[in-house]
């Protein structure tokens, strides 16, 4: 049943670049995990103990929003979504490096960890690796859709 409806989608919108085929599926899964992790973490922390580390928890919430948006664009597909995802991945990468460096240079500003602390070490460095892989995949998606 799922395969039938998927094929129907493709015939209705043949011009939309599919971003979740092949390696894209793995990316969507990893981004999905980061969304669930970052959203639940920031909701929990902001609602229970926001005063303890407002900066860290706000940054976690921003990270959660960025992850959610990238996941949405990947699932939606299409050229505009691909460009938006590319921009967000770049922003995400910059965020990881800025926050990562910030946490190392000035640890006192962060009484508690964010998703992007120490370049995402608490998350197996996935926050650093994910945008890099995603940018590679999104750039390749354009070239393959042009040749196809």
């Amino acid at each position: 049943m799922t395969q039938g409806s998927g094929a129907g989608d493709m015939t209705e919108r043949p011009q939309r670049t599919k971003l979740i085929g092949g390696p894209g599926m793995l990316l969507v899964w990893l981004y999905g995990v980061m969304v669930v992790g970052a959203v639940s973490r920031s909701v929990y922390q902001i609602s229970t103990e926001f005063d303890r580390a407002p900066l860290a928890y706000s940054l976690s919430a921003v990270a959660a929003l960025v992850y959610a948006f990238i996941t949405y664009t990947l699932v939606r597909g299409g050229e505009t979504a691909r460009k938006a995802a590319l921009a967000c991945c770049a922003a995400e990468l910059v965020g990881v490096f800025v926050v990562g460096t910030w946490t190392l240079v000035d640890p006192s500003a962060f009484p508690d960890a964010t998703v992007w602390s120490d370049f995402g070490m608490g998350y197996l460095f996935i926050p650093v690796l994910l945008p890099l892989t995603a940018i590679m995949w999104l750039r390749r998606s354009r070239t393959s859709s042009v040749t196809a």
């Binding site: 899964w29 995990v33 639940s40």
Partner: protein, 119 residues
């Protein structure tokens, strides 16, 4: 929490990760046997969910808070089914890779569950 159950689930998750990772490496999609493996691991996480709730019901408290504990219990029960459905939609090696990644995530969640329960 039952330490033995947490360890069993982690080991099963890592085994599933290796198995599906191997399938991805050999350029194969997930097959019936992989789904049986996923079902076994999911069953373990469901047992864990029940055991966790029973222990909470008995008045035992997780060291790092009940909310966090319940969130991780639910998350660990959802990880493999979600990855399994995605591998049904993606009938290539990348579907297998997704399940392998899901199983690794589950193993990490188990470690966190262990920490949250015992402090």
């Amino acid at each position: 929490m039952l330490d033995a159950l947490t360890i069993a689930t982690s080991v099963a998750a890592l085994a599933l990760a290796a198995w599906c990772g191997h399938a991805a490496f050999r350029d194969q999609p997930t097959k019936d046997w992989h789904f049986i493996g996923m079902a076994v691991v999911t069953l373990l996480t469901l047992v864990q969910l029940v055991v966790g709730f029973v222990q909470l019901g008995r008045g035992e408290d997780p060291a790092q808070g009940t909310t966090l504990f319940v969130a991780y219990l639910i998350g660990s029960a959802c990880a493999i089914p979600a990855a399994g459905f995605m591998s049904l939609a993606e009938r290539t090696r990348w579907g297998s890779a997704t399940v392998a990644a899901g199983a690794v995530v589950l193993a990490v969640l188990e470690v966190r569950l262990f920490d949250i329960w015992s402090g």
